[in-house]
């Protein structure tokens, strides 16, 4: 044996172990994947910032009906010890309780004694995910009454345990989201026989309690979708109410996480690795931010995160994004000086049926316009959120009148009166909403301009605010290019300032923004763009010099050549290359 100064020479090449399944990424911590004796040490060594996300693994704590273990039998179920370890290591924890199947654990996290009917997607295909180790996790329906009853009992025990042990960390309800094409869909959504059986029971119940709904159903078969949506929301609320009831002091709101690589297409692509495509994951990452979910890459094989996608995850899934999900008011004052995703437009859904919403966006040409002119600089909101009010007076809102009623129209008008820009597609507007809108304009003697451009457009102004109404149904009848021109003209009125990027196909980029600090007083705002080349070819990008923007610096250059010219910045991104550029915005 060679004397190597006290240590032994390794005869084989050491395996680089940079992936720890206990920390699969983006601040998640899987306590059941490590011995409790290592928890404190692991938590202490974790270099990430911000609170750790600790999903509660229901099946681990309840192996048999009506039996619950929080450390009495299996030490790895001791959540009190875990909390103590976190405190000792100086880490914050947010416990996440699955209010939907969780794609990263076996059976979606439900105990094996509840495994009955597979949850199905809209193509009647079982919901299955592949985890980072290549294991398949099947999801089971949350519409099974046995599952709900067992969930309720488990949450009651969990609540008692948290109170009894004085666990101080908050618990959020975890809504896991999957991708269906470009849509983000909750894992709660289910098209299985279990759902149908439950829905049939609901309809029977309605025959007695609300016969007028059944009458509508008989007259309009399409009303079934509305009732199904209603039933889904009802069951969803049962899970939420049980959580709030038994975890009252600990419950701290909901947490929406999307899981990259969870689409049905991904299941096949990942089975035959030849066509697993990093570019698809970029799209899922960006869609998550647009859909206001917390993106998670924990289902992906670690090798997928070694190049530009891994860099993008680190750049985009950062502390401000996490704080936004957990609604941490404590940090609110700092948030203006941290980069957050740039957002010019809020598209307000106001209905639960995401599939039809995506179609509206696509048919109107908005999706195409945004992708071309303002890629990923928009958000999809489920409801009207007045917290955006202070963000930026120039925020632009989009509404579809067919989804409005009198109350929601009032909120829309409030945004307009507060100086925001509002676009309203009047297709399918109800008489009630139409009259209310006309009355509002007449009552306030508002300045109204009408033009005919592709469709009949009306611009109503009040102070800084503007309200554009248009008939979206006519947009569907013209070519995509005409729809693009339509939006370009209308959005052009708003004089939004953004740098233009000419990038070759395959290059992905994402914008962020923050307020300027005391050292950057020449600027109102700092905009940051991160560019990635996930392809295996060299790609060129040109950032065109634009009024009101000054290039400040480039950071994190990886496999990138940068050249500054009078007309802009020329970049050559080599395969897997990435770079981040900061610009100052001034008026």
């Amino acid at each position: 044996m060679l004397d190597t100064g006290g240590s032994l020479d390794q005869l084989t090449t050491p395996e680089l172990r940079n992936f720890d399944p206990v920390f699969p990424g983006e601040n998640w911590f899987f306590y059941w994947k490590s011995s409790p004796s290592l928890w404190e040490e692991k938590l202490r060594q974790y270099p990430g910032m911000g609170p750790l996300l600790v999903p509660i693994n229901w099946s681990l704590h309840s192996e048999y009906p009506n039996q619950y273990d929080f450390g009495a039998q299996k030490p790895e179920t001791d959540l009190h010890k875990l909390s103590e370890c976190a405190l000792a290591a100086g880490k914050q924890i947010v416990f996440l309780l699955g209010l939907t199947p969780m794609p990263f654990v076996s059976n979606g996290g439900i105990p094996s004694y509840l495994v009955r009917d597979l949850s199905l997607d809209r193509n009647q295909m079982a919901l299955v995910t592949v985890d980072s180790a290549g294991q398949l996790n099947r999801m089971y329906s949350f519409f099974d009454p046995h599952t709900f009853q067992a969930f309720r009992k488990f949450v009651r025990e969990l609540g008692h345990y948290f109170t009894q042990k004085g666990i101080s960390f908050p618990v959020c309800g975890l809504e896991s989201l999957r991708f269906d094409g470009s849509e983000l869909v909750s894992y709660f959504k289910d098209y299985s026989r279990t759902f149908e059986n439950g829905f049939n029971r609901y309809v029977k119940q309605l025959q007695e309690s609300e016969p007028e709904k059944i009458q509508t159903l008989i007259e309009q078969p399409s009303y079934e979708q509305t009732l199904k949506q209603e039933y889904e929301e009802l069951v969803r609320s049962l899970y939420l109410e049980a959580t709030k009831e038994f975890l009252s002091g600990h419950y701290s709101g909901s947490f929406q996480a999307s899981f990259i690589g969870s689409a049905s297409d991904d299941l096949f692509a990942r089975s035959f690795q030849i066509w697993e495509n990093e570019n698809d994951y970029f799209l899922q990452l960006f869609h998550s931010v647009v859909g206001q979910a917390y993106p998670s890459s924990l289902l992906l094989n670690p090798h997928m995160k070694q190049h530009s996608f891994g860099k993008a995850i680190k750049d985009i899934v950062d502390l401000p994004l996490l704080r936004k999900q957990i609604d941490d008011e404590y940090y609110e004052d700092d948030s203006l000086l941290e980069f957050s995703p740039l957002c010019f437009f809020h598209l307000v859904d106001l209905a639960g049926d995401h599939y039809s919403y995506e179609k509206l966006m696509s048919d109107s040409g908005l999706e195409y316009f945004f992708n071309k002119k303002y890629p990923w600089s928009y958000r999809l909101d489920k409801d009207i959120d007045f917290s955006h009010e202070d963000e930026n007076q120039n925020t632009v809102y989009f509404f579809w009148a067919q989804r409005l009623n009198k109350e929601t129209l009032n909120k829309v008008l409030k945004l307009f009166m507060h100086g925001h820009h509002v676009f309203l597609d009047t297709t399918g507007i109800s008489e009630e909403v139409k009259r209310k809108l006309e009355f509002f304009c007449a009552e306030n003697n508002l300045n109204t301009q009408k033009i005919n451009y592709v469709t009949s457009v009306q611009k109503i102004s009040l102070g800084e605010g503007s309200l554009f109404t248009y008939e979206g149904e006519f947009l569907n009848e013209v070519s995509l290019n005409k729809r693009f021109d339509f939006w370009q003209t209308l959005i052009g009125y708003l004089n939004l300032k953004q740098l233009k990027i000419d990038a070759e196909n395959g290059v992905c980029f994402f914008w962020k923004t923050r307020s300027s600090n005391s050292f950057e007083l020449n600027y109102q705002e700092i905009r940051r763009v991160s560019l990635y080349n996930p392809t295996s070819y060299k790609k060129k990008v040109h950032l065109i010099s634009t009024n009101n923007f000054a290039f400040i610096r480039s950071i994190d250059e990886v496999n990138t050549n940068l050249k500054s010219t009078p007309i802009g910045i020329d970049l050559v991104l080599l395969p897997g290359g990435s770079v981040t550029l900061d610009y100052g915005y001034y008026e």
Binding site: M125, V130, G134, Q135, L136, D265, A269, S271, I274, W275
Partner: protein, 131 residues
Amino acid sequence: MKLNKVICLLFRFINVGGTDEGTPHGRYRVIQFFDETGKISLDEIMRVSGDRNLHPDFVEFETKEELTDFALKFLDQNDYENAYLLSTNDFNIGIESCHNIEAFKDIFKDYGTCLTSTAERPKSLFGKIFD
């Protein structure tokens, strides 16, 4: 030209007004259609299915025979060796016994229907997975 390859087709029966698969109002919708290199494009499907009026978002057939004929035609025109046809019902049964990716790769072979091209050719790596 593609040689010695296997294609996999996952389809779903859609009941349009009837109660069982025997109804003439049913449709067979293609959910997944891929070979070892990836998804097969709609353009390629249209080229084989001829003048059928395809929906822009999906491909459907009136009967299972039409679906099978299409798959066989696709095999022959593109020099594939085998096609595995699997319904979502059978997929859902098969998936219950798959615990990892390796087992999942066999789901089309174990639970699907195998169609063979008229020409016999040596097998590719992808083909060997299914044998």
